[in-house]
Subunit: 195 residues, 2 copies
DNA sequence: GTTAGCATGTAAGGAGTTACATGATTTT
DNA sequence: AAAATCATGTAACTCCTTACATGCTAAC
């Protein structure tokens, strides 16, 4: 996960490790968090397989400590694509994995996007049906707190299905040749202007 | 997490490991999942510290394989309470940890419940403010997919704050002596009857 | 001049997963 | 009699966290 996220972000521009974390927190912090204790080892690992290269902004040699800019290499781009493709069950069943893929949708083919969105929708529809079943049979047998939690889950799932539906629709209306991810009007299904 | 969940569920009645997983999936599967590969080692660990005791339903000795009922012991109840109490930052900042606590609210004092709910609300309010800030500054700099993701996050957070507000209110109206978790009318903030 | 935030890293360990392996029981 | 589901378990491994450690730089 972290490798995919880091490479995906470095595609935008070279960055410090610190900045990588800050930006990923901004965009994905809602769904997925990680610590510096996993970030730096990951960057190290990526540089060991030559997916990223290091740069020292002061012009000093590598003896100088602190402040390292990481830049993605062509090999890194290839690894990124491989990781993005390798989206088996995890990318549809795991919320975090799915959201991470969504964050990098602009690097995927329209067809890949549609497939992922529809699989996720299908999975959630399935789960929603099961949740409603459980709610029916358990309504009298569990306490109010557990029930509230289950109801919350069902509501959220329903909401998510709606959201996905809107995005699938938007993909359909924009997938005929327009550049991916440049037209904001295709989205905003749930926008509701919170300001 | 798993230890807390398993002990909490076993407080209801003795069960097979298999049943433990099924029931936890029903109630918490929306937020939190686990595999049998972690369940059985956990049960083993719990029995090693005498938090649970084993029972063989066929009346056979332990030579007989398969089908083991686990029953929580007084020591297990103590461990459960300790784990439930030890809710530092994780229980308010980590969605899964918070939801797990919520599932066992009926075993906590009204005061503990109020504290947890309010801390979680405070945390989400904080994050929402930061998310809105990010949205403002990033609106022109990131692609539509990332933006949609961030907007989704903000919407969901707002929704969650509302939900918590309803529960805090419900706690206030029901915390004056009524048995915890027995009056379903205190809830249903988001119910909306999905059937 | 001290607090807050920027910036990087490591060692030990926790909490799970995946894949495998086995066999009983129920349903079709 | 085959397939699904019930039921239990282990070994190797992955991914990440926590706690620690260091030092720079900007703001107040």
């Amino acid at each position: 996960m972290l490798e995919l996220a880091v490479l995906g972000l470095l595609k935008e521009k070279p960055m410090y490790g610190y900045e990588v974390k800050k930006r990923l927190d901004e965009r994905l912090g809602h769904t997925w968090k990680f610590s510096y204790g996993s970030l730096y080892p990951t960057l190290k690992k990526l540089s060991k397989v030559e997916a990223v290269e290091l740069e020292f902004p002061d012009g000093e040699t590598l003896t100088r400590k602190k402040k390292i800019v990481y830049r993605i290499t062509p090999k890194g781009e290839a690894i990124f694509e491989a990781l993005l493709d390798e989206s088996g069950a995890s990318a549809t069943e795991d919320r975090e994995a799915f959201m991470l893929r969504l964050a990098f949708f602009r690097y995927t083919k329209p067809e890949t996007r549609r497939r992922l969105l529809e699989r996720r929708r299908g999975y959630l529809q399935d789960r929603l049906a099961k949740m409603k079943e459980s709610l029916k049979t358990l309504r009298e047998r569990v306490d109010a707190y557990s029930l509230e939690l289950m109801q919350y889950g069902a509501n959220e799932t329903e909401h998510d299905i709606h959201w996905l539906e809107g995005m699938i629709e938007a993909e359909r209306n924009g997938a005929d040749g327009s550049q991916p991810g440049t037209d904001p009007s295709r989205f905003g299904v749930l926008r509701g202007e919170t300001t």
